[in-house]
């Protein structure tokens, strides 16, 4: 058994050797499934998720219920004026240490779906697609903490791939505190991008911001934390989100660069994007 989070103070090193403000290794890919409208693959450390987008496509009658959780800008009777964002999450039975099946109606998963759907619906320009659906399907391949954050980031990447207009990247990251609620240690360092072990032992929150701004789109905290430490945690999470945005942006640009160099896309004047990454 390796050490636990209490040893942080000894050398300011976390259980995996990171400093307080370091993200884990990030790896992202975009357009992994050619057949899908948009797709992505994202690793944050050992948390690995995949996202596939279908849509925006016109509603073909009523959607089947139970497919996922949807959120839309405004729901008018007899057809919505904006696109519905439907999120469904599938957690692989092999994704965690214990191989276990999650029931379809798992409350935790439903909550994740709702959180992501709402956050995305407010970020995407859904009003451009009345009476249609953007279906986001997320697959969790491996879990090692910061799951919600990874799912949001993967969804953002895939939506970029799908070409759905959005205000900015919706980026998320977790932040924790090196000391627990009961310890009463005011000077506790905040930590960013927690892994499973840290999530189990420490209080943490998940924060999503709109791009590099400080606009908070999602804030989820399920653990007890002293309110005095909350600001530090949120500030470091927001900073971490900036780092994540930089990374996502880089993934997108690299892909774009590659597509241009491979000739998949014409380098047109309309592309203001600087592809010299």
């Amino acid at each position: 058994m390796p050490l636990d989070t209490s040893t942080y103070d000894l050398a300011l090193l976390r259980v995996d050797g990171r400093r307080w403000n370091e993200l884990r290794r990030l790896h992202g890919q975009i357009r992994t499934q050619a057949a899908a409208d948009g797709s992505s693959y994202l690793e944050m450390g050992n948390t690995k998720v995949m996202c596939v987008i279908a849509g925006p496509s016109e509603d073909a009658g009523r959607r089947r219920a139970g497919m996922g959780v949807s959120a839309s800008g405004s729901t008018a009777p007899g057809g919505s004026a904006a696109a519905d964002v439907v999120v469904s999450i599938v957690v692989g039975g092999f994704s965690s240490v214990d191989r276990k099946r999650r029931a379809r109606g798992d409350k935790r998963i439903q909550e994740l779906q709702a959180t992501i759907a709402k956050a995305l619906a407010s970020n995407l320009h859904v009003h451009l697609y009345p009476r249609s659906t953007i279906s986001i399907s997320l697959h969790v391949l491996s879990q090692d903490g910061s799951l919600l954050a990874a799912l949001i980031n993967a969804a953002t990447l895939a939506l970029v791939d799908a070409g759905v207009p959005m205000t900015d990247y919706l980026v998320a990251c977790t932040a924790g505190s090196t000391s627990t609620h009961s310890a009463g240690d005011e000077g506790a360092d905040p930590l960013v991008d927690l892994n499973t072990q840290e999530e189990q032992e420490l209080p943490f929150l998940t924060l999503a911001t709109l791009g590099a701004t400080d606009k908070v789109a999602v804030l989820v905290c399920e653990t007890r934390v002293q309110v005095s430490r909350l600001e530090g945690m949120m500030a470091s999470a927001a900073d971490a989100c900036k780092g994540v945005r930089k990374f996502l942006d880089q993934v997108v640009r690299e892909k774009g660069h590659k597509m241009v160099t491979e000739g998949a896309i014409e380098k047109g004047a309309s592309m203001a994007m600087d592809i010299d990454v």
Binding site: M1, P2, L3, D4, T5, S6, T7, L10, A11, L12, L13, V15, D16, G17, R18, R19, W20, N21, E22, L23, R24, R25, L26, H27, Q29, G45, N46, V97, D98, D144, S179, T180, H181, S182, A183, G187, D189, P190, V192, N195, Q197, Q200, E201, L202, D214, E231, G232, A235, S236, A238, D239, A240, K242, G243, V244, K246, F247, E254
Partner: protein, 1049 residues
């Protein structure tokens, strides 16, 4: 990776973008050449993982706006590896756990010599750089004159943590992460101690996270054991330190030295040119070597303990049928298992086949029995017979470093330390004749019935890991029960942090063969340690006292009138049926000061024929408590009222106990009267029993009554009646004594409380007045008279009380002790002989000696018990202590259930009312007897424990010096009794002086001769002067009176 120089690694770290893209873009099935150089993989298991990542993908988030600070770590310094380990769960499932490891180069060496590391030292979120720990001028030794830093390996810490905690040596120590992790797995308490050391400023311990530093990280190689890999990691780190410090421009560069006890490791270190030294050799070179060397454990050579893992700790139990046939044929023996209060590894079991209890020694033989269990034992062959222990062995002291998490699958059931503790025992008792004569020993082969209950205790703080103190992670911790006879209980909890420092209640769930300690679960927390509420509740729970308020169904059984209830004015009322009107008698009650539940009152008046009429009037509780209603059930469960120092737990609701039944003065009350005609020489001429109505004239305290009797000017009838009672009681007492009644003794003290805060302020020994004896004699007389009557009418179902004659062997040791030490003879063939010889046990100028002997004699006795007449033959009815052939309890029905039953039986016996079936059914009565026997005993123990607690509290913050007497001697300590406080205390030799004085224990002469650091000799019955102080043991959180020997008198 091992062969590569640092520069190579550094150059390889710069991986070009193109390579990386190919790598990520492809299937990433295997490592690609140059990348591996910069990567380190612990386990071969995960060769399929991406082996590297571009340093530029490590994104360091910049400064947060609200916390203005920045960290300038080299973004290229990180590297990735992963750690895979396999963990098996309780259910036997194997889990593979993968962890990332980020390797970096900015972990400082923390030597004040090094300026490079200081420049790149990490900052906390607050921008603070931790100061460097290791001195720039560390101490030198003969071998390392230029100064040295120490790097102990895991075994060095495991074997000699005490050494590292020394104030005179072991400074500038580098604790490697590898070692810290290994230590944590082996012993959590030691780990906690080590973490404590790293926090201390003057010891200069630095934890170097070698597993996260790129240069010191080592890969586990094919077929390399994890121990070898860790050893290699230690050597690598030591080498790195030496190389690293060599680069500083300092003139004298300290050597970094590996401390190890592993021969193989040291040899390899030599080959690799890494400075290493054996722990023992290193200590020999220190100034205070002699003393320090003693602190190294014997077996510090690495034991390959992990390999020879035994699957089960304990032998399997026999099947029930095998035990039954064994017991029937006399091959096995059944009895109740008792643990020695001084030695948790020794138990005894009393079986009918042997005159003396069989001894059960050691964890193996005790085989998971807990004090009170009914077990079946097998006698061991004669060559394994041993003498009872003469040594104090406390569980806390021996097993304090055990790890709760690793309880399962540890090495062996009997730890080395335990084995040694017992071994010394056997050696010492060789060649002794009287006391040290080997006695039959036995081993437990099965448990018939567990006597597990809920146990109160506290969490062993050293078994709690650092995170659990704050976190919500589930982990195993040890619970140390209040009752020393109960082993530590392992509980799994998520709230270890909150439970620390609290009294908690747990139950034992099971004790499997795989587990060294019983496994239990948390029930609830009673509150903080040492708060009055928590300690009182703990005490009540520990003695299973029912202390919850009376339920409504019980209260519904009370008279509707409540406190306004009065004896009906009209004698035609059904309540008056068959009651004698004794309101005209001059009755008074004599009780302790402040007594509210007055259940007895007396009167005496001369009769014309020269005899006396004497009456004992007992509260008529049976009038209010009808058989088999809710209140009766509750009372039968409670069995007795429990008196604590500051609290009384009533058997009956307050309304009855302190008002309606209580024979308060000046008011009419129902009573059950025993009326005798006694001759002037106190012989019973006639006795009769009747329900009555009385009116007590006065409620005296013992002191008041005594004063009134002594005051010759008081010549009223009431006072004269009391004088008559006193005169008769003295004659009764004499008769009893002549018959051989024992006057036994137990140390009784009274705690004086401050009236407002009810904080204990002083302790007084209880004074006994003539009036105490007056009341006692008449109560005894009443009890005996009632016992005769109910036995006469109900020979099968009468509830009686007996006190068995103690087995002769019980007194053997005391008799021998008295003979050897004082030349006194203790005869114990009859209670009369015993009483006489006890009277002869006096010492010149030492009045307490007699009391001491009586106290010790009392402990050799059996305990008295209630029983149903039909279950015993008449000769067995005898009450040994009172020298009465028949006895019962009748006089305290408010506070004892047995008396209530006797009241009902007596009422039926005199034809007052028909006997309720519940009081007639023998099976039910036997169950009641069994319960009240237990309750009675528990109430006594709880009362004593309460006194002990308050005595401790009254000592809080002060030191008392008192006389004490040696009651018992062990080879490594002795027990003293302090008469002033009525407490016993253990004085261990190791507390007398540092180091522990050498001792010679002469078991035949009962003398313990000390030499060396503390010269004295202590013998049995000796008067000593002790200093008593109230000490809280930080490790266990227990508070207790701690005694120190001032001098032998």
């Amino acid at each position: 990776m091992q062969g590569r120089s640092l520069s190579e690694v550094a150059s390889n770290r710069f991986v070009s973008k193109a390579e990386l893209n190919v790598n990520f873009g492809g299937m990433r099935t295997d490592q690609c050449g140059p990348l591996t150089a910069a990567t380190a993989i612990l386990d071969t298991l995960n060769s399929k993982l991406p082996k590297n990542f571009n340093s530029s993908t490590v994104i360091e988030t910049s400064t947060m706006t609200s916390l203005k600070r920045s960290v300038n770590t080299d973004p290229l310094s990180s590297n990735l590896s992963s750690k895979v380990y396999v963990r098996s769960t309780k259910s036997g499932k194997v889990q593979k756990i993968v962890r990332e490891v980020y390797l970096r180069q900015d972990i400082p060496c923390s030597s004040r010599l090094c300026s490079n590391c200081l420049a790149s030292a990490p900052r906390s979120a607050a921008g603070v750089v931790s100061p460097f720990v290791l001195s720039d001028r560390p101490a030198g030794t003969k071998a390392y004159p230029q100064g040295h830093y120490l790097v102990p390996d895991t075994n060095a810490l495991l074997n000699a943590m005490d050494l590292f905690e020394q104030g005179s040596a072991f400074f500038d120590v580098i604790i490697l992460q590898t070692v810290l992790e290994e230590l944590r797995n082996r012993s959590l308490p030691l780990y906690n101690r080590l973490i404590g050391l790293t926090k201390s400023q003057e010891k200069r311990f630095y934890v170097f996270f070698n597993e996260f530093r790129l240069e010191t990280y080592v890969n586990r190689e094919q077929d390399e054991s994890i121990n070898d890999r860790n050893d290699r990691a230690v050597r690598r780190a030591v080498k790195w330190y030496n190389d690293h410090l060599g680069q500083t421009k300092s003139k004298s560069i300290p050597v970094t030295v590996m401390l190890s006890d592993d021969r193989g490791n040291l040899e390899k270190a030599k080959q690799e040119n890494v400075p290493g030294i054996r722990l023992r050799d290193y200590v020999s070179g220190l100034k205070d070597a002699e003393r320090l060397l003693d602190m190294i454990a014997e077996s510090q050579e690495r034991v390959t303990s992990k390999e020879k893992k035994t699957e089960f700790f304990y032998p399997e139990y026999f099947s029930l049928s095998k035990m039954m046939t064994g017991v029937k044929s006399g091959m096995l023996h059944q009895g109740m298992f008792n643990v020695s209060p001084y030695n948790y590894l020794e138990g005894s079991i009393k079986v009918p086949a042997f005159p003396k209890p069989l001894i059960i020694l050691g964890r193996d033989n005790i085989n998971r029995s807990v004090d009170g269990d009914v077990v079946v034992v097998e006698v061991l062959p004669q060559d394994q017979w041993k003498a009872p222990s003469t040594k104090i062995i406390e569980e806390e002291a021996i097993t304090k470093n055990e790890n709760a998490d690793n309880d399962e699958g540890a090495v062996d059931v009997v730890t080395e330390k335990e084995r040694r503790a017992l071994q010394e025992e056997v050696k010492k008792t060789q060649g002794q004749t009287t006391e040290g004569r080997p006695q039959p020993t036995a081993k437990v082969v099965g448990v018939i019935k567990r006597n597990w209950r809920q146990y109160v205790g506290h969490v062993d703080p050293s078994s709690v890991s650092q995170t659990a103190r704050q976190g919500r992670k589930q982990e195993s911790v040890f619970l140390i029960p209040m009752d020393k006879k109960i082993p530590k209980i392992r509980i799994r909890t998520r709230q270890a942090g909150e439970l620390l420092g609290n009294r908690i209640l747990v139950t034992i769930d099971s004790w499997d063969r795989e587990s060294r300690h019983p496994v239990g679960h948390f029930v609830r927390s009673l509150g903080e340690l040492e708060t009055k509420a928590a300690e009182t509740e703990a005490l009540l729970l520990e003695y299973d006292v029912q202390y919850r308020p009376f339920p409504k169904t019980v209260l519904d059984c009370l008279p509707k009138e409540g406190h306004d209830w009065k004896v009906p004015a009209s004698t035609d009322d059904p309540g008056w049926k068959d009651r004698e009107d004794l309101r005209g008698l001059l009755i008074c009650s004599i009780d302790p000061v402040g007594c509210q539940d007055i259940d007895d009152a007396l009167h005496a008046k001369p009769l014309p024929n020269g005899n006396y009429e004497v009456g004992v009037h007992i509260a008529d509780v049976s009038h209010f408590v009808k058989p088999a209603n809710a209140m009766d059930m509750e009372a039968s469960i409670r069995g007795t009222t429990v008196y604590l120092v500051d609290k009384r737990i009533d058997m009956l609701p307050m309304l009855l106990g302190t008002d309606l039944c209580s024979l308060k003065p000046y008011v009419e009350r129902y009573a059950f009267s025993v009326l005798w005609e006694l001759s002037p020489s106190a012989d019973i001429v006639d006795v009769r029993f009747t329900k009555s109505v009385i009116k007590s004239r006065e409620a005296f305290s013992y002191e008041q009554a005594q004063l009134r009797i002594d005051d010759a000017s008081q010549q009223d009838d009431l006072t004269n009646g009391m004088r008559t009672l006193l005169m008769l009681s003295k004659k009764l007492k004499q008769k009893r004594m002549d018959a051989g009644a024992l006057s036994l003794s137990s140390p009784e003290v009274k705690v004086q409380m401050e009236s407002e805060t009810s904080d204990p302020i002083d302790v007084k020994t209880k004074e006994l007045l003539d009036t105490n004896s007056l009341v006692e004699e008449f109560m005894l007389l009443a009890n005996i008279s009632v016992a005769r009557k109910i036995y006469e009418v109900f020979p099968q179902t009468a509830i009686l009380r007996r006190h068995g004659a103690p087995p002769k062997t019980n007194f053997d040791e005391l008799a021998n002790q008295l003979k050897v030490k004082r030349g006194l003879e203790l005869r114990f063939d009859s209670s009369k002989a015993l009483a006489d010889s006890l009277d002869a046990c006096v010492a010149e100028g030492e009045p307490f000696f007699n009391t001491l002997v009586r106290i010790m004699a009392t402990r050799c006795m059996m305990s008295a018990e209630y029983f149903c007449a039909g279950t015993q033959s008449f000769p067995e009815f005898r009450h040994y202590g009172l020298a009465s052939e028949i006895y019962t309890h009748f006089t305290s029905p408010i506070r004892r259930y047995a008396d209530l039953v006797a009241h009902r039986q007596l009422a039926a016996a005199i034809g007052y009312e028909a006997m309720h079936p519940a009081v007639r059914a023998r099976g039910r009565l036997e169950a009641v007897c069994k319960n009240i026997n237990v309750r009675h005993r528990n109430a006594q123990l709880a009362g004593r424990a309460s006194v002990a607690y308050y005595v401790g509290q009254s000592l809080k913050g002060r030191v008392a010096e008192e006389d004490a007497f040696v009651m018992r001697i062990f080879s490594n300590g002795f027990v003293v009794l302090v008469p002033r406080f009525g407490i016993e205390g253990l004085i261990r030799l190791r507390d007398l002086a540092e180091p522990e004085p050498e001792s010679v224990f002469d078991a035949e002469e009962y003398v313990l001769r000390l030499s060396g650091s503390y010269e004295t000799s202590v013998e049995l019955f000796q008067k000593v002067r002790v200093r008593i102080r109230d000490v809280k043991d930080e490790a266990t959180g227990k508070r207790g009176a701690k005694m120190e020997l001032v001098r032998a008198v």
